[in-house]
């Protein structure tokens, strides 16, 4: 082999970089689209889950004063005066409502306390506040004499916080004992567990239903298999909402299934199926089944029938031959399908929201609740980030034990 001259090397390098530039230009629109609609929202969500400047913007001076506070008794008079002054300002600007909402989130029941105290302090003149501020405040409500309340205010005032993650993990920060399990409301961890559990069951059902069908399809002549595949894909052509609503019609107390079972005398009482986790599982299995069938089918289609024949000619009976030879060869498709179904169902929202009731709710429904109803976007962001982290961890585990390179979508 002879080495290239400098000119030749230069030409080769410039040709290569030109090629790269062309390739890059082809993906620029998609890249911009993804950055704008995918990376940026996820980034802002992650950011929002740790960045919370609302309280710090409302009562900055009080928070500075609270720096000196030892955290045991009521903060000193200066601090209380400063707070009263700021509350007075907020009341005049009609921002006390916002503060009450924020503090209520940090310490339950603070909403009305802040509102009434703000009204009381708002009635005073600024000159009066200099001397009577602290006193008025303490008279306004006994909560202002509690150290926990001030502790909560101090924590809520932090611009960067991991408190929402603690809440999302059902933990809380106690002034003395540090991080500990929250005792009053244990919801999120349980919900994560239930979500994973349901996703697992849905994946299992999809595999059990999809595998035999994909196997049958892969053995058919091409034109008939294509026709039947169109039927498999048919659900994709109807709106998700319509399909889910159809399940409501089927499953409700006086729906199709119950009416049939009642009239045939198999049951005496209608079975409660709608608004249970059963309804969520059955409707989601139906909706996600094509994601299992397609990769399975394309992998099975690629398996030469001579493998099974070879196994049998070597003396293997059909079932052992299937288990030892055919099944392992379909694993790439099975794991691809299972991963798709599992990840999609972990974050599914609309179907559990419509047919799940309270029993069939999944983590995404709680996230939506915090986005839309309770207006706690920071907690929603923390829950969403944890979900993202959870999926990444599961994917890592999968890659570790099964190997992501084994996935075959077609």
């Amino acid at each position: 082999m002879s080495a290239l001259t400098t000119t030749e090397a230069g030409q080769a390098a410039s040709a290569r970089s030109k090629k790269r530039l062309t390739a890059f230009l082809f993906v620029v629109p998609l890249l911009a689209f993804i950055l704008l609609t995918f990376v940026a929202p996820i980034g802002s969500m992650l950011w929002r889950s740790v960045h919370h400047p609302a309280v710090a913007e409302l009562i900055p001076l009080t928070l500075v004063e609270l720096q000196r506070w030892d955290g045991h008794a009521i903060p000193d008079e200066t601090t209380l005066n400063v707070f009263a002054l700021e509350l007075h300002g907020l009341a005049k600007q009609r921002l006390s409502g916002k503060l009450s909402e924020e503090l209520n989130r940090a310490y339950t029941g603070m909403s009305s306390v802040v509102k009434s105290s703000a009204r009381r302090i708002g009635r005073l003149k600024i000159e009066q506040l200099e001397s009577q501020g602290a006193e008025t405040l303490l008279q306004a409500h006994r909560n202002w004499s509690k150290a926990e309340v001030w502790y909560a205010i101090k924590r809520a005032g932090q611009i960067y916080t991991y408190d929402y993650y603690l809440t999302a993990l059902d933990l809380e920060l106690h002034p003395e004992q540090g991080i500990q399990v929250r005792e009053d409301t244990q919801i999120y961890l349980q919900l994560y567990g239930k979500t994973l559990n349901m996703a697992l069951v849905i994946t299992l059902f999809c595999a059990l239903l999809g595998y035999p069908l994909a196997y049958y399809l892969s053995g058919l002549p091409e034109n008939r298999a294509n026709l039947l595949l169109v039927l498999v894909l048919l659900p994709f052509w109807t709106s998700l909402l319509v399909r889910t609503t159809a399940w409501i019609a089927l499953l409700q107390t006086n729906g199709v299934i119950n009416s049939f079972l009642l009239s045939s005398g198999l049951i005496g009482q209608p079975i409660e199926m709608l608004y249970t986790s059963f309804a969520t599982i059955i409707a989601m299995t139906h909706i996600l089944l094509p994601f299992m069938i397609l990769p399975l089918y394309s992998v099975m289609r690629g398996i030469d029938p001579s493998y099974l024949r070879a196994a049998m000619s070597l003396g293997a009976k059909p079932i052992p031959a299937f288990a030892r030879i055919y099944f392992p060869m379909t694993l790439p498709g099975l794991s691809a399908g299972a991963l798709l179904v599992f990840i999609i169902s972990v974050g599914y929202y609309i179907t559990p929201a419509l047919v799940g009731g309270t029993d069939g709710q999944m983590i995404s429904n709680i996230i939506a609740f915090h986005m839309q109803r309770s207006n706690n976007w920071e907690l929603a962001a923390a829950l969403g980030s944890l979900l993202l982290g959870l999926i990444l961890v599961l994917y890592w585990l999968y890659d570790r034990f099964v190997g992501a390179s084994n996935i075959k979508l077609g």
């Binding site: 001579s306 493998y307 049998m312 070597l314 003396g315 009976k317």
Partner: protein, 372 residues
């Protein structure tokens, strides 16, 4: 090796018929007796029914009617896994998720042989196909020829009664194919198993087989040893399919014990061996191999002669092909060794071509196809 296995036949096909669509027969009345240790090739164009016969023997296709007997016992109702027949596939069919060792051990594990015996056998067969150092690799890491050797070893390791090979060398390039032919022959001689080999490559069939069954349209046209097929083809199809042949049309004028006299279309009278003709007055085709056809100055006046015009000359390397045309347009090809005697012709030279009567066959049509 026995030309005809006779009563002691180890494997027998008797009146085997097969239809897929219940309208047309893919295999029409297949009869074949195979002796133990024989190497039989089923040769024919694609769609001629040879692979179907193999699949029926393996048990992957059922027999529409007729019997297949191994050692006198009918196997038509026995499941494929119980027939004890080894099979080598065109696409190797090595299990991709198992190493070579696991692939070879598979049939033995199914038969629940003890572990140390399995290990010894696997070692033995790996070294038999010269792949002992590759035992822990996966099939995907091997070349085509190596994969086919493993497939061969896997089909042999459980000492099957019969080994079936379905175009096993079809996916290999020419040079490798020749090596593998030699390899299969070597193993066959060393281990003495019975082989049913399917191919559409006549050279492969001629070099490897004890006997060849030539298939066309679901019928065995001729079943004989390679030299018989080549030198004494039973009909036009065989003469055409195996090797190359010059065909001169004519009418039978006289019939002797083993010779016939044929009046060619250009008026010349030639003598030829009697094959599947012959009644006086019927049309026939005289077939002559290109290498048996030569120039008159070599043969003198001993043989048959035909006059033809020189058309063109192809240089092939070890020999030269001369193309001639007779007066009625029939093309004749002469193969001449590329030595100093190779003559030169100029265009449209008229040359007399000659051959010996025993080097030509008077042939009829192929065996007529029977219907369902």
């Amino acid at each position: 090796m026995a030309e005809q296995a006779g009563d002691k036949a180890f494997l027998q096909f008797t009146n085997v018929k097969k239809t897929y669509d219940h309208k047309t027969l893919v295999v029409k009345d297949f009869n074949l007796d195979v002796a133990k240790g024989e190497f039989i090739t089923l040769l024919g164009p694609s769609g001629s029914g040879k692979t179907t016969c193999l699949m029926m023997l393996a048990g992957f296709e059922d027999v529409t009617s007729g019997e297949i007997l191994i050692n006198g016992r009918s196997v038509t109702s026995i499941a494929p896994y119980a027939r004890n027949i080894g099979m080598v596939f065109q696409q190797y069919a090595l299990f991709p998720h198992m190493t070579l060792r696991e692939n070879l051990a598979y049939p033995l594990k199914i038969r629940k042989r003890p572990k140390d015996e399995i290990k010894a056998k696997v070692d033995e067969y790996l070294s038999l196909v010269e792949l002992l150092d590759f035992g822990n690799r996966f099939p995907g890491q091997l070349s085509g020829g190596q994969r086919q050797r493993v497939a061969l070893a896997r089909a042999l390791i459980f000492a099957p009664d019969i080994v079936l090979m379905d175009e096993p060398l079809g996916a290999l390039d020419k040079k490798l194919r020749e090596q593998m032919q030699f390899e299969i022959k070597r193993l066959h001689e060393q281990l003495g198993f019975t082989v049913i080999y399917v191919t559409h490559d006549q050279t492969e069939a001629l070099t490897m087989s004890d006997r060849i069954a030539v298939f066309n349209n679901g019928i065995v046209q001729q079943c004989a040893a390679p030299h018989v097929l080549y030198e004494r083809p039973a009909n036009l199809f065989v003469a055409d399919f195996i090797g190359e042949s010059n065909k001169l049309k004519g009418t039978i004028e006289s019939v002797g014990d083993d010779r016939v006299g044929v009046r060619l279309e250009d008026g010349g009278l030639v003598s030829s061996l009697k094959a599947n003709c012959c009644e006086i007055g019927l049309p026939t085709t005289v077939s002559i191999r290109p290498e048996k056809l030569t120039f008159t100055d070599r043969l003198g006046s001993a043989g048959n002669q035909v006059k033809a015009r020189f058309v063109t000359r192809h240089y092939v390397g070890e020999y030269i092909r001369y193309h001639f045309a007779t007066a009625d347009g029939t093309e004749l090809v002469v193969k001449n060794l590329n030595d100093s005697s190779a003559p030169q012709f100029s265009n449209s030279d008229e040359v007399a071509l000659a051959w010996l009567p025993q080097d030509s066959q008077a042939l009829d049509r192929p065996v007529a196809a029977s219907t369902l």
